[in-house]
Structures are given as structure tokens and as C-alpha cells.
């Protein structure tokens, strides 16, 4: 419990920054929605005349035009997934490696507690932090949709289903980050790693949607939880989402196993 509390206190500032910045960006994006609903006629002709795959390359979907509320929200949420993923991988890379980086491993590991307990406390602290941000994103999404919808009648079922994917996305990146951090010798700079992982996989996902390519889509968690698909169909794209679920189920126990065996560098 002490470790849990200590880690949470350490993460407090980071939770505050991410918890403010991400909803702020989300709300900021959505407030521009009223500016969008202009040139709809040209768009509709465009939608009617192009094959779906072609439009997909430009991030458009005939069932979810960009000037519709959910169409705009799906683009916004696609962007918001990047910082969410980066935060999660940040914690993943950070949480098990921080003692070694800051040379406090001797202190922690000479305490009369098992590594198992350390591992569980640390994970719980990180998951708690991620959940706080998740809730803030959820609340601000619903709130901002209510604000910008105007006269429109909206059904929030699909939005809620989409927002429920955040936890899975976070855990996937968190797990991947953790496994990498315990398999390599030293995590010299957390940010470099988490940026490379977050943005790298985002680039893979974007190329995947431009090219409608299967392999890119399987590799990148961002395309497992494609906002467009979920907002249209109201369900997860399980054939892809399953990859993320497997990643979570594999990486977290594997990190536990590796952390238990790890030769932790001491002073």
C-alpha cells in the first residue's frame, strides 16, 4: 500500500498535466465543429461519386461525412488517441525502470517486500492514473458533444462504445512499454521510447488506412480501435481488436515474469 501511495504521489503532477491537456485538446477541437458545417453540397457529390476505398485514403467515409457531428468527432478522437497512447506508454516505460535510472533500486529492493508486491503496487498505481485520465476524457467528450450539437438529436450509444475502447488502448501501450522496459538493459530516456512507440505506431496506422493494408492495420493498436468503424457499426472491430487484447494478456504477465528475474543494476 505504501508503494502504491508513493507512486501515485509521484505521478500526481503528470496526471494533472495529462488530465488537463488531453481533455483541453479534445474540447478545443470539437469547438471548431460549428465552423465545419459549411460546404456540404460539394461534399455530398464527392461522396456519391467515389469508391469507398478511395475516400478511406483521405480519411473520409460516406456513412460518416466529416461535416456531420459524429464524423468530426471520429477525426477528433482519432487525434486524441495519440496523446492517450503516449501517456500510457510513458507510464509503461517509466514505472518499472525508474529505480534503476534514479539509482534508488538498492533502497527499494532491500525493503522486506517481495518483487511481486512491488510489481503489483506499481501497476495498480499506473492503472489508477490512466483510469483518472480516461474518465476525464470520457466526461469531457460527452460534455462537448452536448455543447456543440445544437439542435441535433444525437444517440450517444456508439459514442460510449467508442469511449470504452480507451481503457484497452491504454493497457495495450502500457503493457508493450513495460515489456520493452524490462527486456532491455537500460531505459535511458523514457520520452524517446514512448514518443517512438506512440507516434511510430500512429504512422503505421495512418499508412495502413491510406493504403487499406492488412499488415499495417494488424501491427498498430490505433487501427484496432478505429473511431470511424465503431461510430458507424456500434461495435468493436473484433478481428483487429483481438490483437490488442492478446497483447495485453501476454505483455502484463510477461513483464511480471521478466521483472521477477531481472538483474537490477545497483550502485
Amino acid at each position: 500500500m505504501n508503494i502504491y501511495k508513493f507512486e501515485l504521489r509521484n505521478l500526481k503532477k503528470s496526471i494533472m498535466i495529462w488530465g488537463l491537456a488531453v481533455p483541453f485538446a479534445l474540447v478545443g477541437y470539437m469547438l471548431f465543429y460549428p465552423m465545419m458545417s459549411g460546404d456540404t453540397a460539394a461534399f455530398e457529390t464527392l461522396m456519391a461519386n467515389f469508391p469507398e476505398e478511395f475516400l478511406a485514403a483521405f480519411g473520409m467515409n460516406p456513412k460518416l461525412p466529416i461535416f456531420s457531428l459524429f464524423g468530426y468527432f471520429s477525426l477528433t478522437f482519432g487525434m486524441i488517441q495519440i496523446p492517450i497512447a503516449i501517456q500510457a506508454s510513458n507510464y509503461g516505460f517509466h514505472i518499472l525502470s525508474v529505480e534503476e535510472r534514479e539509482l534508488t533500486a538498492d533502497f527499494l529492493l532491500s525493503k522486506p517486500i517481495s518483487r511481486r508486491k512491488i510489481f503489483i503496487s506499481k501497476i495498480m498505481a499506473a492503472v489508477t492514473s490512466l483510469t483518472i485520465v480516461n474518465i476525464l476524457v470520457w466526461v469531457s467528450s460527452i460534455a462537448v458533444i452536448m455543447i456543440v450539437k445544437g439542435e441535433e438529436v444525437v444517440d450517444l450509444t456508439n459514442v460510449n462504445i467508442l469511449l470504452s475502447t480507451t481503457a484497452l488502448l491504454q493497457l495495450t501501450f502500457f503493457g508493450i512499454g513495460m515489456v520493452i522496459s524490462v527486456s532491455i538493459k537500460k531505459v535511458s530516456s523514457v520520452l524517446t521510447f514512448s514518443m517512438a512507440l506512440g507516434f511510430g505506431l500512429y504512422i503505421v496506422a495512418s499508412l495502413g488506412s491510406i493504403l487499406s493494408s492488412g499488415i499495417f492495420k494488424i501491427i498498430s493498436p490505433f487501427s484496432h480501435f478505429n473511431p470511424g468503424f465503431i461510430l458507424i457499426n456500434g461495435k468493436y472491430e473484433w478481428s483487429l481488436a483481438i490483437v490488442s487484447v492478446i497483447a495485453i494478456v501476454v505483455t502484463i504477465p510477461l513483464s511480471y515474469f521478466l521483472y521477477n528475474k531481472r538483474n537490477i543494476a545497483s550502485l
Binding site: 477541437y29 460546404d39 460539394a42 503516449i86 511510430g200 495512418s206 499508412l207 493504403l211 499495417f216
Partner: protein, 263 residues
Amino acid sequence: MNIIKRELKANLKSLLFWIIPLGAVMYAASVEFNAFAGDSAIADAMKQFEFMFKALGSSVADMTKPEGFISIVSLYIYLPLAIYSGLLGSGIVSKEEKDKTAEYLFTLPVKRYEVIRAKLIVAVVYSMVINLAIVGTVYLTYLRFEVSDGYFRFMSNMSLGVFLTQLIFLGIGMLISSVLKQYKKSGSITIGLLMGTFMLSILIGMVDGKLDFLKFVVPFQYFPSADMLAGTFNFGYVIITLVVTLISVVGTFYFYKNRDLHI
């Protein structure tokens, strides 16, 4: 000279760590591009509706041609390279304090500005190396498709455009690291800046035309691939880039000289 050699060696691993996966992704994209390269149906459809794309402010590039396709995916060259340079800039300055080697380095008989000068040279050289490696990879992998005469010009323009974008973030990263009292924060702030401007850049593209006045704060909008394709550089943005970079570099030298090192 010794410091330059030492820095070159210290940052080599991370350079390769960026170049190899990024090059691989770019190559993989070109393999996938194969599927619709030269597909005349798509090209015709695009031509027919060119006016509409123009009206919507979207890219009018023909994505069945290598040049057009590269210009559509070019953001994924600009972005990672800018991230690399930003992180390199902030990391190379703050790493002595992070790794607790500042004490060692600054007891050597070298002036602080000589240290920073060496680090700056290495950062610029590595930014150039990654730029040439990635743009070069893209250039070579797309040569197997039918490229037009302007292809080489386009790619060399883009290389320059990307490099200027890198310089901005490199300079800002170094400046932040030397100004901030806490070395730990410099990386986060550089990244915050990168992400903020990147997301703003996407927003500007989405609500086309209405937010153009914000473009000057977003380096990703300075040298868009459409301009690179046409072979034009917006003179104003080139000036902004050079001024920002110059101020950052001068500022780095100035602030680092008086820095209270965290030991």
C-alpha cells in the same frame, strides 16, 4: 574535437534506432503502394473531380503517381524527423546533468561554449544524416515506379523543407534545456510543443481556410509538400525559420554559459 567524437558515438545508437524502423516502414509503404500505382481508374476519377478537391482545399496530388503519393504521406516524414531533432536537441544538452557526468565534463579544461558548440555541431550533423537517410530511402524505393522528370527536384526540395523544420525544433529543444532550471522537464516541454503544433496543424487542415492565420505558429505548415512539389518555398516562412533557429542557438550559448548546473 574529442567532445565531437564522443558525442557522435554516444548518439549513434539512437540515430540507428530511428533510421532503421522508419526506413523499413517507408519501404513497406512503397510495397503496398505497388497495388494501385498507375491505376488509371483512380487517376481518371481524381482528374474529373479535381475542381472539387481544390474547392475543398484538399491535396490535389495524384496518388497513383509516386510524387503524389509521397506528398500525401509526407507528414509522416516531417513529423518523426522533427521529433528526432527536438529530442536530440534537448537531450544532448541536458544529458550531462541527467547522467551525472556534468561534474566530470566541466572540470576538463574546456570552456562551456566549446562544449555547446561541439554538441550543436553533432546535433546538426545527425539531423542531416537522418534526413538524408530517410528521404534517400524514400527516393530510392520509389524509383522502381514510373517517376516523372521532376521527381529528383521534388525530393531534394522536400529534404530541404524537412531539414528546415528539423532545425526549428532542434534549436528550441536546445534552448529549453539550457534555460530551464530543472533538466528533467526539458524533454517533456519540447514534446508538448511538438504535439501541440502537430495537432494544431491537423486542425488547420481540417477546417480548411478558416484558421490560416495560425499557420505561422505551426512549423509543420511552413513547407507543405504541395509547395515542395511546385518547387516554391514561402520566403516569409524561410525567414521565420532562420530567425527562430538563430535566436535559439544564440540563446542556448548565452543561457548555458550562466547555467547553474545540477550536480
